[in-house]
Symmetry: C2
Subunit: 397 residues, 2 copies
């Protein structure tokens, strides 16, 4: 049976991450799960915090009448209220429940955002490397993703963003801590971005939204992640509990709209409406209630910190360069020079590593060829054990 042309085309070039994930499952069947160094998927394996388990059992045992029914499409008011308080703290602004819309994870939230703010033909600017799903998330709603380069240290390149702006620009999307680089954008960088966007809005008469995708906000190692909502008035934060509570399969997150935004009603009503018509209807009820109860809890980030250190050690020993991650749980590595000085690309290096049962994702999958991404949401023992595999792989590269 025929299917839509654009979907048929997309299928043939579908997600490299998911491909590696499936390849990993095959290799594990063949060699045993503990023999494969699968760093392909960002599937958090650190347990949800004890507080999650406690409230989960409590809500199941009580199983309050009507608690699995419909609620307003934006979510339970008491949950939105609780999350507003958390957002106040994190974003250094005063928001209330009316600024919060519960979402089916960040992926659901971003689709609602782009559907709400983009006219067909509008553009959304993103800095390379970036989470590749932003491309369909914008294309779904007729918008075009415009890629610009980042600086060599993977910081935002304000001049590059400036060159991407035009009268069709609906939004700039930022992701900090960044997937795949682990970069956190500083207050200063965000202030520069805000200045640029304000100036552009004044000049063109079309204000540009700053959309911040921040599922990794709570996975930061040495510094906290600067606020977005207080940095630029026309900003929208999309967040999720996939990483902070290790609940990616449960599809729970939220959208927070800046209180400084001019005339927010259309935007908020639009977000509620698109949440409804895109078929989310509302974020899953039980997980909403859990998220509303767990505004202080998060996974044990020190586990990720130890893994990062172990991974960096393995890469250092093998002589593989990487960007030092400040947050998230990815290591973005440079494809090393081959011994015979042949020019080889990231896909070839990923294939080479596979021979040593090491799985990563080519940087091309993030708009950055010549690099590759390892996710370290796997047991520290496996990371440490991968050291000799990396070394052997490098000796034969």
């Amino acid at each position: 049976m025929p299917i839509a042309e654009n979907i048929k085309n997309a299928l043939s070039s579908s997600s490299m991450i998911r491909k590696m994930f499936e390849e990993g499952m095959k290799l594990k069947k063949l060699h045993g799960a503990d023999k494969v160094f699968d760093f392909s998927l960002g599937n958090p394996d650190v347990d949800p915090p004890q507080a999650f388990h406690d409230i989960f059992v409590k809500l199941a045992t009580e199983d309050e009448k009507g608690s699995h029914g419909y609620m307003p499409n934006a979510g339970f008011p008491h949950v939105r209220e609780a999350i507003a308080k958390k957002v106040c703290r994190e974003q250094n602004v005063e928001v209330d429940f009316s600024h919060i819309i519960m979402a089916a994870g960040a992926a659901g939230g971003l689709n609602a955002v782009f559907k709400t703010i983009c006219n067909p033909g509008d553009e959304v600017i993103v800095s390379r490397p970036y989470f590749m799903e932003y491309r369909p998330y914008t294309a779904n709603h007729g918008a075009k993703l415009v890629e610009v380069d980042s600086l060599d240290n993977f910081d935002l390149d304000i001049n590059a963003i400036a060159s991407g702006l035009n009268e069709k620009t609906a939004a700039v999307i930022v992701n900090s801590p960044n997937n795949p680089t682990g970069k956190i954008y500083s207050e200063e960088v965000l202030a520069n971005l805000a200045s640029l966007l304000k100036e552009h809005g004044k000049k063109t008469g079309r204000p540009v939204y700053l959309v911040s995708d921040e599922p990794y906000r709570e996975i930061a190692y040495t510094e906290s992640v600067p606020p977005i909502l207080s940095s630029y008035p026309d900003s929208i934060v999309v967040s999720s509990y996939s990483k902070s509570l290790s609940l990616p399969g449960e599809r729970i997150g939220f959208i927070a709209v800046s209180p400084l935004i001019h005339d927010k009603d259309d935007l908020v009503n639009g977000l509620i409406y698109t949440t409804r018509i895109l078929g989310f209807v509302n974020a899953p009820a039980l997980m909403q209630r859990i998220a509303g109860s767990l505004t202080e809890a998060k996974v044990d980030v020190s586990v990720y910190a130890r893994r990062r250190d172990a991974f960096m050690k393995a890469l250092d020993n093998a002589g593989i360069e990487y960007a030092m991650p400040q947050g998230a749980f990815y290591l973005f590595c440079k494809v090393p020079q081959a011994k015979n000085n042949e020019q080889k690309d990231d896909k070839e290096f990923v294939e080479h590593l596979k021979k040593y049962l090491i799985l990563g994702v080519p940087g091309s999958g993030f708009g950055k060829p010549g690099w590759l991404r390892f996710a370290y949401c796997v047991d520290e023992k496996i990371i440490s054990a991968s050291g000799s595999a990396f070394k052997e792989a490098m000796e034969n590269w």
Copy 2:
């Protein structure tokens, strides 16, 4: 801040059902919840079955490691396997897990289906009256919903559907038991529809999908709901646990693809891909596992049957005509002739009823002016108590 034009336009004419729902909340605050006869929203209030509670507590208590993580976008294989067995029984075909894609409720499933099968400009045929969300669900993906009339008894009008078919038709959508009429389409009617579609496909060389939205399959009173997948080869069933287990807030359902479908791989891979990129990523993990365990359970339908009888009695006493519902939990009523013989429409009657604290939804909200819908997922006592309010309202109409 500006938002997308189409969303701004939609906001001004948004869902009548949701408007009545919100109006109902206001009236209840003013007059007390037990004084308002709120028949506006199809929000099941019958408790989920005991088996739901048991498995809910069991899964929460065990809280199996990794159970809240990512799984394949189509859903947990063991859940898809369990649901395939249920679909075999209900649809009288042999399906396995590869025919099942878990969805975030029927709304999520339908969006994935239309995104997968519709090219921009394609058409989807629906019989009036119909669940109005089909309009945005198709428009989201560039398709156009084409309305055709049903017969006077609200059965499918095969000739009307024939007149709507053309080379742009991607699908016909049916909904049985129907929202808002409660109609169940017989095997004979479905066979006639299948003949029409087969003939059209042969003639034009473009086979048409039959998409069956069936969240009410298990809410049927006197007869069972005939199968779709065995009635027509190129058919897709979209189902949900919102009504059968009373879990509408939890967003859990599935898509089942006919095993008779020609060359199903593109379709299935497309459905998995669109589930991912639309931002669902996967149906909520916990509810997947619950759905997979509860293939035999459903809410106590006799509660709805008693309410239906009580409601029909109230309407009979007031002299309001309705279509006799065979399933679902709606009564679709004709706007009665006004005493002074003035021509008054469904919106006026709904406004009139509101004075007596009775809330329904105008038939215009379902493409059928001159009618209105009452949802009887409210306590039987409230339904019985509404009898005198209906009577009084009619005396002054």
